[in-house]
């Protein structure tokens, strides 16, 4: 059953995520990011950052959770167990660093139908407490049609 196109442009309640130093280190280790700016606060400060720097795709840690919550909204009608992650993008306005408190708002950017499958692009606008944009990410998910 195709998704309701009227969801395009709809946003969900903001979610806040506090970026922790140990989480950044853990993520850096998991993706082989060995630059000490990811793990050593002194090295990060020497490079001009307030604390350890998150690797470029780290924001998925909180944007995926925020998106998952929307996907699970029964009003939208996507079945998460049949969802495939097709595309992902990150546009970083500044590096994410430990100590950041970031707010994510998820918006439905686009809904299309492709060969009977629902194709939905979710945009995450991530801002700091001043409301300044830190990054924008997009995830396109394909809800495979049921058999």
């Amino acid at each position: 059953m195709p998704l309701d196109a009227s969801f395009v442009g709809r946003s969900w309640a903001p979610r806040t995520y506090a970026v922790g130093r140990e989480k950044v280190r853990e993520f850096a280790r998991a993706v082989g990011a060995t630059d000490p700016v990811h793990t050593d606060p002194d090295a990060a400060q020497a490079a001009g950052h307030t604390d350890v720097v998150a690797p470029p795709t780290f924001p998925v840690v909180f944007t995926w959770d925020a998106t998952r919550e929307v996907v699970d909204d029964p009003a939208l009608g996507l079945d998460f167990t049949r969802v495939v992650h097709r595309d992902q993008s990150f546009e970083l306005h500044r590096p994410v660093v430990a100590g950041d408190v970031l707010t994510t708002v998820v918006t439905v950017d686009e809904i299309r139908e492709l060969a009977g499958n629902d194709v939905v692009t979710f945009r995450c606008d991530v801002t700091d407490p001043d409301g300044t944009t830190v990054l924008v990410s997009r995830a396109t998910l394909v809800g495979r049609a049921g058999e």
Partner: protein, 138 residues
């Protein structure tokens, strides 16, 4: 001033082979919070029609971003990264895992020093696992 290496359109960035093991998948699952069992449980992966446990697409993307960041010499020069997940990377239950080949070609160099790279990631069968992967560095 950009600290990026000097490059011209068409230049190829030296490639790299990166192994992905089951242990690496478990580590990434914990670090990212993506606990979908298709990335660590053979039984679940087979039950949903996959050939076996597959890597998180986001892990492959992260490894490609890391490859680009290391070439740049500074991870904060990576300003954007986008990709399509075109094929799953099946990770066997052995100590070697699956190796992906990463490479990149310079697509554009702007007056302000911004460099756009087309990034490739090839799985063990020689087929691309990321599509339209583009990194912008400045």
């Amino acid at each position: 001033m950009s600290g990026l290496p000097q490059v011209a359109v068409g230049d190829e960035i030296p490639g790299r082979t990166v192994p992905i093991t089951r242990a690496g998948l478990v580590r990434y699952a914990g670090a990212s919070g993506d606990l979908n069992p298709i990335h660590w449980n053979e039984r679940t992966a087979l039950a949903v029609g996959l050939p076996g446990v597959i890597a998180h697409g986001m892990l492959t993307m992260a490894l490609a971003a890391q490859y680009v960041a290391e070439w740049a010499g500074d991870p904060t020069l990576v300003r954007s990264f986008s990709t399509r997940f075109t094929r799953p990377v099946v990770v066997p239950d052995d100590d070697e895992g699956a190796s992906i080949e990463l490479g990149a070609t310079v697509k554009a160099v702007d007056d302000d020093g911004t460099v756009t790279l087309a990034v490739t990631a090839t799985g063990p069968d020689g087929k691309g696992v990321l599509g339209k992967a583009v990194a912008v560095l400045r």
